[in-house]
Assembly symmetry: C2
Homo-oligomer: 331 residues x 2
DNA sequence: ATGAAAGCGCTAACAA
DNA sequence: TTGTTAGCGCTTTCAT
């Protein structure tokens, strides 16, 4: 019958299904997308025939025709790994929140690194960027694509950029209040302030300290890992203990710091009080159980997703800082 | 000049760039994909012009024309969340291994749930499925798409299905050997054996016990959470302690079990020895530090990615069970 | 080294 | 309720 193609191995297209039934392919299109303008009996027939022939929609073709992809890119700065699980600033639960929301909206999510995104841009309608990168370079790269995008992090960029993040300044304040409540006066800050969010944490911490008698006696730039925290504090302790309280920019750093303190025969919280950040899963498992500032990752992720989808559909959108909460435990 | 379109707001296409320079659009295409058949000077000119005009490749159009998407779908069974971080059978590091490998191959990754995949199939060349689902239903659904796919889990399905997973039977054996070495003889197994991987763990555990004088005295189906582990063991202990060793299908379950044991005034490992599974990040933080069977997630993820890409490019591919390792700690 | 024509598979717009 | 026509933006094929 079909003189066009001698029955190749390839999968059938709408044209094939249409020819089989003697209808126009637009009718097949309408039927399979359940449009009510097609008679229900016709729809059923087409559905069955398509099924029987093994027909599958070619998503690329539809994306091209409709000029949209129902896909959002989530761009992270580096690949996750086992030893970074707890220390990563952007954990699985942030992704979970994003995914939940995108899924509910029927949107797919392509997960990619900043490098891959630059080299092989995927086909997407919008972008969620987790972390601006040092000096905003990641955000600038995304901006250049012209796609709608939102960022997780600190609002240090241009004011028109949509940013969702925790209220890191307030997190710093909470940490300060906790340490002040423990009568700590000589405080140590551990964290890399090149990172906008960490800078905000330090800012809020300092602000809450002014006029209290307590003060920051030292600050050490420090990666988000247990090892980095341990090393930083070990070095400091070699020249004697000049502090009685620590605010660490992540729980991993805090754990490393505590290990270093205890390695000197000192006790936490006896000699030194410690506050971490993130309330990671390990915080309540660690010994001593870690006091930490909790971020609401899941809600943050959901907000990111909502906002980027709103941007895609042309709505106006605003930045948002999410409240944080101090979880007081033993440290 | 351009009489076709009165300079719309839309982004320029290759045709626009071509018209601007008075060349054919195919030349623009060739130049931008750096084909050596185009004179270098022409290439440079086209590159600059495209850049100046803000040209961006339309990936959907290319995907349609080339009949491939450079994208692999990773299908998970449910969205990750904070409280599941440690207990999930498929953690971030598995994803990390997949991502690393796909990224290196210039492939994008779309992360999706089984439901979303069914409702809105993304445009992909292949699928990595994490977990077959109960009764294989997830795998069957993927199979029906006709796309090349590989599965993480246990090789309980049809033999032609490509499966990558840990050697769970050997993991069970290692757990048995450890408990036997601690002179434990009345053993408890905690885990949901509907789950193929867990079933293999139990199988290897039982096999290693035969003819040793030790035996399984009880087994409880149990979700992958701390709470489920705690509850299962609490219930058992209400009628007295009939066991002196526990093999739990995950570290989270093991932690819950230990909490329940200690809540009765018993000690781990004094009265009861416990082996977990996964060696999750919390295992070494927990008190007592948890003995656990470690899976090599990152390598597993990398293998999954390699194999699905091989399938996509028509190569022959085989299933693979990865070695596991017992990490002996305090429990 | 460059170009012209064709068409990937789908759906919007406009008939009938 | 169904059909016709056109075209999304790109790259393959075949010419020049």
């Amino acid at each position: 019958m079909s003189k066009h193609k001698p029955n190749e191995r390839a999968r059938p297209t709408m044209a094939d299904v249409a020819r089989e039934l003697g209808v126009a392919k637009i009718t097949v299109s309408r039927a399979l997308s359940e449009q009510s303008t097609v008679k229900e009996s016709t729809r059923a027939l087409i559905r069955e025939t398509a099924e029987r022939m093994g027909y599958r929609l070619n998503v690329s073709a539809r994306n091209l025709r409709q000029q949209r992809t129902r896909t959002i890119a989530v761009v992270i700065e580096m690949a996750p790994s086992h030893d970074r699980l707890m220390s990563e600033p952007y954990p699985l639960s942030l992704l979970g929140g994003i995914m939940q929301e995108l899924t509910a909206a029927g949107q797919n999510m392509v997960l990619t690194t900043i490098d891959l995104f630059a080299a092989h841009p995927p086909s997407t309608d919008g972008v969620i960027l987790l972390g601006q990168g040092v000096h905003d370079d990641a955000a600038a790269m995304i901006e250049a694509t012209g796609l709608p995008y939102v960022v997780w992090g600190a609002a240090h960029g241009p004011p028109e950029r949509i940013v969702v993040g925790s209220d890191n300044r307030d997190g710093g304040r909470l940490a300060a209040d906790y340490l002040l409540g423990k009568q700590r006066t000589k405080l140590l800050f551990l964290g890399e302030t090149q990172h906008g969010e960490v800078d905000d944490r330090l800012g809020g911490f300092e602000a809450a300290l002014t006029g209290t008698g307590a003060a920051i006696v030292d600050r050490v730039a420090c990666a988000f890992t247990v090892a980095a925290g341990r090393e930083a504090v070990s070095k400091l302790l070699e020249r004697g203990r000049g502090f009685d309280g620590i605010f660490a920019a992540s729980d991993a750093i805090a754990m490393g710091a505590i290990e270093a303190v205890e390695a000197q025969g000192l006790s936490v919280p006896g000699d030194v009080s410690v506050v971490g950040f993130d309330d990671s899963p390990g915080a309540s498992l660690f010994s001593p159980r870690l006091t930490s500032v909790r971020q609401d990752w899941a809600t943050g992720g959901a907000l990111l997703a909502q906002k980027v989808l709103d941007l895609v559909s042309g709505k106006r959108v605003e930045s948002r800082a999410m409240p944080v909460e101090l979880v007081a435990r033993e440290s």
